[in-house]
């Protein structure tokens, strides 16, 4: 590096160098290797999928590129220049922006303030709120998102948090943009807007790393794909040259069946329904909702964000109270005024937001798994820890949760494995009615089909299941019946056999009658 290259050299080098290049990256946590010599090259103007099973090391690799973690070994070049980031500020300065898998927003601040956090436009050394709101509005508009920049983030549904995250990265004018499962909490329309946006950024020469567990998205928007397994690269190629089966096999390490609907014998409907909802109306947006659910049935809830799916789940589980209408359980008024009663009556809810509602992140996996089971774990006045260890181990085994030790904080698990902990903690209670709100968010393909298999098993054994999912393919694979919700009411109650394909369900959700 003693001689300075001429201006011409510099320019040619710049234009030819990849947007980002990672060579032989190694990284371990507390002596456990997570990345074992990973190569990753991101060209300019390319959308590069980064795929792999839960815990394969995708987020870790990207956090290194973003300066959150420091690599143990290896070389990183941005635009041909070798870098060694020690903080996210370094990475931002070099033009690397990231949309975190776990949100990095300040809930009590407005959307605009979050977008410009630490980069606030100033006037006379004071934060220029007007300019900030205007520019935030422009960015959001450019993204095709209808969102008030003045709204406080915590008042928004989680889908908008994701969009705010993306806007935040865009505001930094990044040359490399990392998106870690950006659509995990987006609805179809919002995802579409995001894809359009990605196309626009790509045309501007931004290199985008796209971490996702959704195959159709990879084919839809990605040019290349790199697959990680157990911390090593097992595949790196142009997406167009690969079949979905090849990619899935590389991710999972074996053949996996695609998500397909398995028709199950219809539940007997001449008995009293397990759950009956009559003209339910509540302050949270649910208006005059009615439907029934029988034991042994899997009911899918489809709808846009804000259509009342999550809100319905909250009413059944006693988190919110209805204003009028009735919820009957086994033919009797349910009388559920809080989650404890719901749990005692055999209902379980896997909530939408695992970090906020599902887990105590600083507590161990074991503590989290046992929390709902404590009432049955007594030995005299004390908790039977020996039995608890056994139970936790069995649940970890059952869902194949990847971890170093059950006694370490759940926060250290990969995103998909955290989700499995939330699922496992409720499966342990063996509920009669299981409500799953986006149960496969962030879960890898192999595990997704396992979870669907588990849901079918539960229904086969006579349990009732309600599944909320924005992924229509998954919803159609698992449901016996699909309720379409819009603006807080049931607009369609469809037998799965009568739904031809994703397209027709999508039309029903949008409210387009055929």
């Amino acid at each position: 590096m003693s001689e300075r290259p001429s201006a011409l050299d510099k320019r040619t080098k710049r234009t030819s160098a990849p947007a980002a290049e990672m060579r032989d990256i190694e990284k371990g946590f507390n002596g456990t290797p997570v990345l074992k010599g990973v190569d990753f090259t991101l060209a300019r103007g390319e959308v590069h999928a980064l795929a792999g099973g839960n815990g394969a090391g995708k987020s870790t690799l990207m956090k290194i590129l973003q300066g959150v973690h420091r690599k143990d070994a290896g070389v990183i070049r941005i635009g041909g220049r070798e870098v060694d980031f020690s903080s996210t500020a370094d990475a931002e300065a070099a033009g690397v922006g990231m949309v975190f898998q776990e949100f990095s927003l300040v809930p009590t601040l407005s959307v605009a303030r979050n977008i410009f956090l630490n980069h606030e436009p100033r006037r006379f050394r004071m934060i220029d709120d007007k300019a900030m709101i205007r520019r935030a509005g422009e960015i959001l508009q450019g993204m095709g998102v209808d969102l008030d920049p003045r709204a406080e983030v915590r008042t928004l549904p989680t889908g908008y948090w994701q969009l705010t995250e993306i806007a935040k990265a865009l505001a930094l004018d990044a040359k490399v943009l990392i998106m870690d499962e950006p659509t995990a909490s987006l609805t179809k329309t919002e995802s579409e807007a995001l894809f359009e946006l990605i196309g626009r950024l790509k045309a501007q020469g931004v290199g985008i790393v796209y971490v996702s567990h959704r195959m159709e998205e990879v084919y839809r928007i990605c040019d290349r794909i790199t697959v990680l397994r157990d911390g090593g690269v097992v595949l790196s190629d142009a997406v167009a040259d690969l079949s979905p089966e090849q990619i899935v096999a590389a991710i999972v390490g074996r053949e996996v069946d695609a998500l397909a609907w398995v028709e199950r014998p219809a539940a007997t409907k001449d008995t009293t329904p397990l759950l009956e909802v009559r003209n339910l109306t509540a302050a949270n947006g649910v208006t005059d909702m009615s439907f029934t659910l029988h034991a042994g049935e899997i009911l899918g809830l489809a709808g846009l964000m804000g259509s009342g799916r999550t809100e319905l789940a909250k009413l059944i589980f006693g988190i919110d109270r209805p204003m009028s209408g009735e919820i009957l359980l086994r033919g009797e008024p349910a009388g559920i005024t809080n989650p404890r009663i719901a749990i005692a009556k055999g209902i379980a809810l896997v909530p939408e937001d695992r970090r906020l509602q599902g887990l105590v992140l600083d507590h161990s996996v074991r503590e989290n798994l046992l929390l709902p089971l404590l009432p049955g774990l007594n030995r005299g006045p004390l908790v039977d820890d020996r039995r608890g260890d056994g139970l936790a181990a069995r649940l970890i085994e059952r869902l194949q949760i990847k971890l170093v030790s059950a006694n370490r904080p759940v926060r250290l698990l990969s995103g998909g494995n955290q989700q499995k902990v939330v699922l496992a903690k409720w499966l342990g209670r063996d509920p009669d009615l299981l409500i799953l709100d986006e149960p496969t968010a962030g879960v890898d393909i192999g595990t997704k089909s396992e979870i669907i298999e588990r849901i079918r098993e539960l229904a086969d054994s006579g349990k009732a299941v309600i599944v909320i999912s924005s992924e229509l393919a998954e919803l159609l694979a698992v449901s016996d019946r699909v309720l379409v919700l819009r603006n807080g009411t049931v607009t369609d109650d469809l037998d799965r056999r009568d739904i031809d394909d994703e397209e027709s369900l999508q039309l029903a959700i949008q409210g387009v009658r055929s």
Binding site: N30, P339, L370, L371
Partner: protein, 327 residues
């Protein structure tokens, strides 16, 4: 394309090195700090009688009341709440116990009066925090003033002597053989606190509530009841601490316990309980309290005056907390 694919490491069998590196040294900071300060004093204050049996027992006796309250405060802070009223509740309880004894001549009525103070204050604190959703910081800050003022008012600021020997013996004044009664109170409180926090459902639910109240509520934990209970227990324990003051000093007085809330909170935080809730250590709180007592004792023996003691004590606490935070 890289084709080398090493087999995954055997799960659940980290090497000894990694296990050592995995130890979170921060949770041992209080014990290390305690040992270091103890050794320093033992070396430099040996000629001043620091290591004599009487002096060491003295440290225990002087910190006992703080230690007892620190056990309850560990639960409060673990549940992501705070109780600033304990010092003045102790004072009010000492006064009420003393007045009841002098009026009736019965120790039992004295104890009941003291406990009643704790119950009433605890129910008020707990209700305001859980049912009205007021921050415990503000509720107990207000209660600090109210209890202090009440104690002063009903005694017209005068001490109320306690002439009941049994009461004085049980609450702090007496010994059981060679062991000071206050030491026994500490041991009992710490033992109960440790078992409840670590081995019972209630303890787990306190930690879950403090760690993530929403997730705990979604999991069926009655977070309101948990919060109410820790606030109530804190006040009742503070009332018992007040009677320990009363017994040891053979009188009830509104100043007993004044300012103790700060020592107690410092002891709990030094002991490794998270100020944000979700993690707590009863044994750590005991050592935090002992460390503070140790420092006080050493500084007096070394001949520092009161103002110097305060400054040095503050500095030591800052260093200890900084060590406990550092990764």
């Amino acid at each position: 394309m890289t084709q080398t694919l090493a087999p995954p490491p055997p799960a659940g069998a980290p090497s000894r090195v990694s296990r050592l590196r995995g130890i979170d040294w921060r949770s041992y900071a209080i014990y290390i700090g305690f040992a270091v300060v103890f050794l320093l004093f033992a070396i430099f204050l040996a000629d001043d009688g620091f290591l004599s049996g009487t002096n060491l027992l003295n440290i225990f006796r002087q910190t006992a009341i703080i230690s007892v309250m620190a056990v309850a405060m560990t639960f409060v802070i673990s549940a992501a709440q705070i109780d600033l009223s304990i010092g003045s509740v102790a004072g009010l309880s000492s006064v009420c116990a003393a007045l009841a004894i002098s009026a009736t001549g019965s120790a039992l009525f004295g104890v009941l009066a003291g406990l009643a103070v704790g119950l009433v204050v605890g129910i008020v604190n707990g209700s305001l925090v859980t049912f009205l959703g007021m921050p415990s910081f503000l509720v107990t800050l207000a209660m600090l003033g109210i209890a202090f003022g009440l104690a002063q008012l009903i005694t017209k600021s005068a001490p109320v002597p306690i002439l009941h020997d049994t009461f004085n013996a049980i609450f702090g004044g007496g010994n059981l053989g060679p062991i000071p009664g206050l030491l026994l109170w500490t041991v009992v409180a710490v033992a109960i606190g440790w078992v409840v926090l670590n081995k019972t459902r209630f303890g787990r639910q306190v930690l879950a509530t403090g760690g993530n109240r929403v997730a705990a509520e979604y999991t069926g934990v009655n977070t309101r009841r948990i919060t109410f209970t820790v606030m109530l227990v804190s006040s009742v324990v503070a009332a018992i601490a007040g009677m320990l003051y009363a017994g040891r000093l053979e009188s009830g007085r509104y100043q007993w316990g004044t300012g103790d809330e700060l020592s107690v909170i410092a002891a709990v935080i030094l002991g490794g309980t998270s100020l944000f809730g979700g993690a707590g250590s009863v044994i750590g709180a005991l050592f935090g309290s002992l460390l503070i007592g140790l420092i006080n004792n050493g500084l007096i023996l070394a001949g520092f005056d009161n103002s110097q003691q305060q400054i040095i004590r503050g500095l030591i606490i800052i260093v200890a907390v900084a060590l406990a935070r550092k990764r």
